[in-house]
Structures are given as C-alpha cells and as structure tokens.
C-alpha cells in the first residue's frame, strides 16, 4: 500500500519526443575522412571557438597590458588544463545521457592517495601516480556499480560518491596537507620549451580521446547509446558495459586532473577540487554537448574549459570581486545552453525546409 507522496512506479513513457528532437549537431555528419573547409565552417565546435576568440579579442583590448602577455596566457592555459582533463571524462558520461557529480571529489582523492603513498610509504613517483589513477578508476567503478547494477539514477549515485570520495580523501590525510617529493612537483611545474607541462598533458589526452571517440568502435557505440539507448540495445550494444566504461574513465581522468594540479602546487590537499565538478560539467555543456545526450566533442569540452578560464582571468585582471566571478560563470552557462537550444531548433527547421524542397 503506497502512502501519499511515495513514488509510484511509472510505465515506460513514450520517449519519442526526445528522440525526434534532433541533437545539437545540426550538420549532416560530414565525412570524417575528408577534412575540408565546409566541415570546419559548419561544425558546431567552430561556433564555440568563435566565442572564445571573441572573448579573447575583447580582453586584448580592455586589458591591453595584462592579458596578451605570454606569461598570462600560458598561466591561464595551465589553470584550466586541470578542468579540461576532467571534462574529457565528464564529456563521455554526458554523451551517454548520464552525469558524474563526483569528479571534483575524485580529483582530491586521487591526488591525496598518490601524495600519501609517496610521502608516508616512500613509493616511487610513477607508481604512486598510477595507483592514484587506479584509485580514481575505482571510485568510477563504484559509480558504475551503483548505476548499472543497483539502477540508481546517475545524479543520485554520483552525488553519493561525491561525499564518499571526499570523505576518503579527508580520512587519508586526516586534514593535514601532504607535502610531495620534488620529482613529483617537476611533473606539474616543468615546461616543454615555453609551454607548461600540464598544458602538454591536456593536449595529449585531448587528442587521444578525440581520436578514441570519433574513430573507434567503442567511441561510436558511446554516441549510439547516448543517441537512443533502446535502439542501441536492440542493435547488440552492451549497454551496461559501455556505461561502466565511461564512468570508470571519468574517474581516471578526474584523478589525472587532480594529480597534475597537486604536482603543480607541490602539495596534496584533501580539499583539492572542492566544487570543481560544477566547472567541469559547465565546460562540457558550454562546449556543445546536448542536454539530451548523444553529442559533444572533446575539442568542444576543452574550449568550454578555456572560455571559463579566460573569463575568470579577465575578471581578475579587471579587478572584479571574486564573488562576481562566480555569478558571471553561472550566467554564461545558462546563456551557452540557451544558445545551444536555439541553434538546434533553428537548424532542425532549416533541415526540414531543405528536405521539403
């Protein structure tokens, strides 16, 4: 006997509306083999690039002396690289119509785990890093278990692991800051020529996962699952396996972002990444992922992180109070997603007109 207010088990409602609505990617999928001007012009990522370009242009004028220096620009890039790396993992989760709220906590947990191993138990730096990454992957696996085996909605499941992972980070450090060996710090503080290493890592991971998503079978299946889970299942795609994969990858990449950030700082703090999940998720959506799942690109996610990083930097250079920075970021997320909806609808109409003609 159900009481008033208790959830009633719903019959599977008709999801035709969601599927009929065309996803963000309004262009005909242009042949991935051909790299042509047409493709670059019509790709939705170009739109995001344009926005980034415009913002940079504005800042170059307004902050003529401070913004366009190589020091500043490289520093900005380094700042958003941690978010960008985690955003790559989050992107894959969002493509499959899920969400991972625990990425901020995993950033903290992974870095603290590695730091602890190096400091307390004198582990070798590479080994500690690998174990830190595996730790992130295990939290991801926990997410995957909650979502695929216990059938918890991703929002609820990752909300739980958000606290679980952060709690583990506190437990490991007991609140103390963990100093890290120099060899570890070199990984985050070093340069390749003029470019900070974290930026290099971001580029390497960005390219690798962009290739993974666009050119491999698993990548194609991830998009298929996000586009229409039922159709993907009927077509023989193992839904549970793909979901497990994306959550584990999200965990590993979040841990990677956290470890690189800790390396830059030279210490591992249990509060690392506190609140970062909002930036990570915002980066993915600003970068063009559809709220309905099924689309989004790595380049878009990284550009989204860049936009937020540049705006933060700009506001700081303009001496704006840090509180207003938060307000600005929030406003931009809403505007970005609204523009996205607008374009999807506009292009759907445009395509229908073409077909009728």
């Amino acid at each position: 006997m159900l009481q008033r207010g208790e959830p009633v088990k719903q019959v599977k409602q008709d999801k035709a509306k969601n599927h009929a609505k065309d996803s963000y990617n309004y262009t005909d999928k242009l042949d991935p083999m051909k790299i042509s001007l047409k493709r670059i012009f019509r790709s939705e990522t170009t739109g995001i690039f344009l926005i980034l370009f415009l913002i940079c242009l504005v800042l170059m004028v307004v902050c003529r002396e401070t913004f366009p220096t190589s020091d500043n620009l490289l520093s900005v890039a380094r700042q958003f690289s941690y978010i960008a790396i985690a955003a790559i993992g989050e992107l894959m989760v969002i493509i499959t119509n899920g969400i991972d709220l625990s990425v901020g906590s995993i950033m903290g947990f992974g870095s603290v785990l590695a730091g602890f191993l190096m400091h307390e138990w004198a582990f070798q730096v590479p080994v500690a890093i690998i174990i830190g990454l595996i730790g992130g992957g295990m939290i991801g696996a926990l997410n995957a278990f909650f979502i695929t085996k216990l059938n918890l909605p991703p929002f609820i499941a990752t909300l739980g692991t958000l606290s679980i992972a952060r709690g583990l980070a506190y437990a490991i450090t007991k609140g103390y800051t963990v100093p890290c060996p120099d060899a570890f710090a070199a990984i985050g503080q070093g340069y390749l020529g003029p470019i900070p290493l974290p930026v290099i890592y971001m580029v390497i991971m960005g390219v690798s996962f962009a290739v993974f998503l666009s050119r491999t079978v698993v990548g194609r299946r991830i998009y298929a699952l996000g586009g229409n889970e039922e159709a993907a299942e009927v077509s023989g795609i193992n839904i549970k396996r793909i979901k497990c994969l994306v959550y584990i990858l999200s965990g590993v990449l979040a841990a990677a972002g956290g470890i690189i950030c800790a390396a830059r700082l030279g210490v591992a703090q249990s509060t690392l990444g506190l609140g970062y999940e909002l930036d990570v998720i915002a980066a993915v959506y600003i970068g063009g992922a559809s709220a309905n799942g099924g689309s989004g690109t790595v380049l878009g996610a990284i550009t989204g992180a860049a936009i937020m990083g540049v705006i933060r930097n700009g506001l700081v250079l303009l001496d704006v109070s840090p509180y207003w920075v938060q307000f600005a970021i929030g406003t931009i997320i809403v505007i970005a997603v609204a523009i996205d909806q607008f374009r999807a609808k506009y292009n759907q109409k445009r395509q229908l007109r073409e077909v009728k003609a």
Binding site: L2, G5, A16, K29, R220, N238
Partner: protein, 508 residues
C-alpha cells in the same frame, strides 16, 4: 404564448432527434495516411452502440476526434441536436462527451476523489475543500459500485476499480455520451459482468454508451447495435436481430484481395529455428513453432496478443521462465541481443523511430551499427570498408539520398525503414524477424519492401513477419501463425488461409 411554443419545440426535438450523436462524412488525414474517409455514425439516446474494426480501422482516430484531441478535416458532428465543433478535450467534456481510454487517464499518486474532480476542484479561497470533495465523490462512487474510501490513492486500486473511477468521473461531468475503449481487456469475468450492469444502469438513466472491443462475444452480450469500420471507412451497421460473430467478422475484413504482393515462389529448406514451450508469466503461454529456411512465417493477431513480446524473448531482449530455443537443431541460450545476433538472428522492431534508428546520426552510422564488429582493425573503425558496405546496401535497397551523411531524421518513413533493414542485412542474418515492417509507409515504398523481403526468402533467409494488415499477411506468408492473449490459436497454410479464418482465430 411563449410557453406553448417552448413546449412544442421540446416535443418536436424529442420526435425529430432520437440521436444523441450524429457524425457525418468525417475525413481525417495524417501525413501519408488517410485515417478516416467519409465516416458516418449515429448513436441513439440511451443506446449502447458497439464499435468494432481491425487494428488501424480508424476507431481510435474517430474517438479522439470526439474527445477533442484531434480535429476533423471535413465533415459534421451533431451532438444533442446541435451542430458542434469540438475544439478541445475540455470543450468535449462541457458538451457532455466523456471518453474512457484503454490506458486510463488517471493520476496514480492522488486519491479517487481528487481524480474525479481533477481540474474542477472544490475549493474555498484557493484551499482544497476535502470534506466536500470526498462527500460528492462518495455519492458518485456508490452509483458505480465502487466500495473503497474516496481518500484511497488510485495506485493502490486494482485495474477494475480504476476503471470505475473513470466511470464515476464521467458521471460527475454529467456526460450524455460515454465512450469506452476496450474496457474489459484487463477485467475478470466477474468484473466484466459488474461493468455490464453499470452500463445497463447508465442506459436506463438515459446515458448513451459507445462500447469498443475486440471481444465479439461480449459485444453481442451488451450492445443494442454494432457499427463496423474497415480501412478508415464505414463497413456497415448490424442491427440486433442479425448480430452474430460471423457477420461482424465478415464486415470487418470483407475487402477485395487485390494481387499487390509479389511473393515469388521460394524453395523452402531445412528447419533453422524451433521454439518449444516458451512461457513468460502472464504474457506468453506455451508457445511452440518452427521456421524453415526460405520460408516466410506470418504472425497475425490483435494488439496485445503477445506477438512483439514473443519476438523480444526470442531476440534476447526479455527473459522467459520456461521453454527452449533451437537454431539449426542445436539448443541455444539467448540472454541478450548480442547472443541473438551471434546466432544469426536479426530484429527489425515495430517502431523505427523509438527502437530502430538513432535519429541524430547519419545513414552511414545507423546502417553500420550492427556490422561494426566486422568493420574494425584493432578497435579502430575502417572507414573505407564502412563506406563501401553502407553504399552497397543503400544501392541494393534503393535508399534515395544524395549522401550517406544525411541525418536519418530527415528521411521519409519508407527510406528510414530501409536504413533499418540495411543495418540488419549488412550482417547477413539467417533469421530475420520483422515487426510491422510496412506500418506508416506509402504504397510505393511498401511494395519495394515486400520485394526485398521476397528476395531474401529466395536466398534462403527464414523470415518471421508480424503484421496487422491481413492482406499483407495473406499475400506474403507461406504459413500464418495466429496469436491471441499470449497463446497460438492456430496455424494456417497459405492455400487454406482467408481473412475471416485469421480474424476468428485472432479474437478467440
């Protein structure tokens, strides 16, 4: 003087208009299909009219027009002596028409009384007046024989009682005409009799009822007259004295069978699929049949007979509690679509938009989706191979498109269905299951798809085809399986099968 005229007018109305509802020459068109073609229908005051017809005959379109959900393209509706345009469901209620849909439009998470007065709540200054709501609901509930408390949450009621809530709601709307769509499909014998008693009470009180059902024996028990629809047109009206099941079936299916379906003779070979005693509790009972290579096995039956459910089980999408499946005489375990695909089974689902295609992806990406496993090298997709494979099938199936990169959402229904077919044919299945393969597709594309299916059979593929279109089933199948409420009620060979035989097996 004025009063005299009024009396005269009233009695004139009584004599001249015995009908509560007169529908004249209604046409309704949807993209690609003419759902209603010059349909006319009359319901007398205080009459119980049965409305029968096959799946797709137009019954639900007609009642949705009466309910104000759809608008008619042409035609007239006269209700209670007045010409009306039914603008919305709210307007339909105001006129005095109440429709109880098969799925029931109740809110499970609130109470019976709240459901009855949903949208017309008894309130005082914005606050719910529960005592009045419950008291008035109780009175209505007594009239329909609903014994529970008005505060009971609807989710805690069994289906039969939920239906009573709908009837009570209709009464509260002071309905003059209540339309019931398949009201007995979830009821036991006893509950059905209770419902019939309530319907008779309604009739005695002057309320008219349109009773839609596939259970022809029940129709005979309760109705005064029967109106038959077929292919969106009037097929006839049967008066009480002539009312028999045979007569109803005859009108439901009695169409000329034109030779539209080019089923070429094919050599039928060895058994490739055998299903034994397949059971899913409350859904499928003890299903057994075989399929041979080169054979087209039609599966007929009414909506809800279990045809799609059976195919989902064979394909590994749903579990079964009992039974065995043999492929090429070898017992197999199919627990997922992956397993089924590995055994050479393909499944073209009923709804291509919901389950067959990924609308946001291109033709190429959709068509290669199942074949990806074969199109890879070390996990990477071989784009050249993918392109040539998709191009091959686009040509074979004559999918009309300027480019493989077109989003499938822009294609017509027929071309979309061909993309789904291409996806499955690309992995060269030995058993192809088709669920309503030509539903919602224009005549030209339909014929093309039939030709494709026929060719496949000629190449030795075993085909199972679920279809609600009897001419299609009769034209394409070598044998026809008929299902009813989860059981196989009959198997007909091509030569002996007729529309009437199939329909009688489908309704009993």
């Amino acid at each position: 003087m004025e009063d005299d005229n009024l009396e005269e007018k009233k009695s004139m109305r009584g004599i001249v208009m015995p009908y509560i509802l007169e529908v004249r020459n209604i046409c309704k068109r949807f993209p690609g299909v003419l759902a209603l073609n010059n349909v006319s229908l009359d319901v007398k005051r205080g009459e119980i009219l049965g409305l029968v017809g096959e799946n797709g005959a137009g019954k639900s379109t007609l009642i949705k027009i009466l309910a104000g959900v759809y608008s008619k393209d042409t035609g007239e509706i006269m209700f209670d002596g007045q010409k009306v345009e039914i603008l919305s469901p709210h307007h339909s209620h105001q006129l005095g028409i109440s429709v109880i849909f098969q799925e029931l439009n109740l809110f499970p998470n609130i109470s019976v009384a709240e459901n009855i007065f949903a949208g017309r709540e008894k309130s005082r200054g914005g606050f719910m007046n529960y005592s009045q709501t419950n008291a008035e609901a109780l009175a209505l509930m007594k009239r329909v024989g609903l014994n529970c408390r008005p505060e009971t949450l609807v989710c805690n009621l069994p289906v039969a009682q939920r239906q009573m809530v709908e009837v009570a709601k209709a009464l509260s709307l002071k309905a003059k005409l209540i339309i019931m769509d398949e009201p007995t499909s979830s009821l036991t014998e006893r509950e059905t009799q209770l419902l019939f008693q309530i319907i008779r009470n309604l009739k005695a009180a002057g309320v008219s009822v349109i009773f839609i059902s596939h259970r022809l024996n029940e129709i005979i028990e309760i109705v005064d007259r029967v109106h038959v629809l077929r292919d969106g047109e009037n097929a006839g009206v049967i008066e009480r004295p002539d009312l028999t099941e045979e007569k109803m079936i005859q009108l439901m299916v009695g169409r000329e069978l034109k030779k539209i379906f080019p089923k070429a003779p094919a050599a039928i070979g060895e058994e490739i699929l055998r299903v034994k005693n397949l059971t899913v509790p409350s859904v499928l009972k003890d299903i057994s049949f075989e399929l041979r290579s080169g054979e087209i096995l039609g599966v007929a039956g009414l909506v809800g007979a279990g045809r799609t459910e059976l195919m989902r089980v064979i394909f590994g999408l749903d579990p079964f509690s009992n039974g065995e499946i043999y492929i090429n005489r070898r017992p197999v375990r199919i627990n997922s679509p992956e397993d089924a695909i590995r055994e050479g089974i393909a499944f073209v689902t009923e709804d291509r938009r919901l389950q067959g295609l990924i609308l946001g992806m291109s033709i190429r990406e959709n068509a290669s989706l199942v074949a990806l496993r074969a199109l890879q090298r070390a996990g990477f997709i071989k784009f050249r191979a993918e392109n040539s494979l998709v191009r091959e099938y686009v040509q074979k199936l004559q999918i009309k498109t300027p480019s493989l990169e077109r989003k499938v959402s822009t294609l017509s229904g027929g071309n979309q269905q061909k993309v789904v077919l291409a996806k499955w044919l690309a992995v060269k299945p030995q058993i192809l299951i088709l669920d309503e393969p030509t539903r919602g597709i224009d005549v030209g594309a339909k014929a093309e798809i039939h030709r494709i299916i026929s060719d496949l059979a000629g190449q030795g593929v075993g085909i199972i085809m679920i279809s609600s279109e009897l001419p299609e089933v009769l034209g394409m199948s070598d044998r026809i399986l008929v299902m009813h409420e989860g059981r196989i009620t009959g198997v007909l060979e091509r030569e002996e099968a007729t529309q009437e035989k199939i329909m009688s097996l489908a309704v009993s």
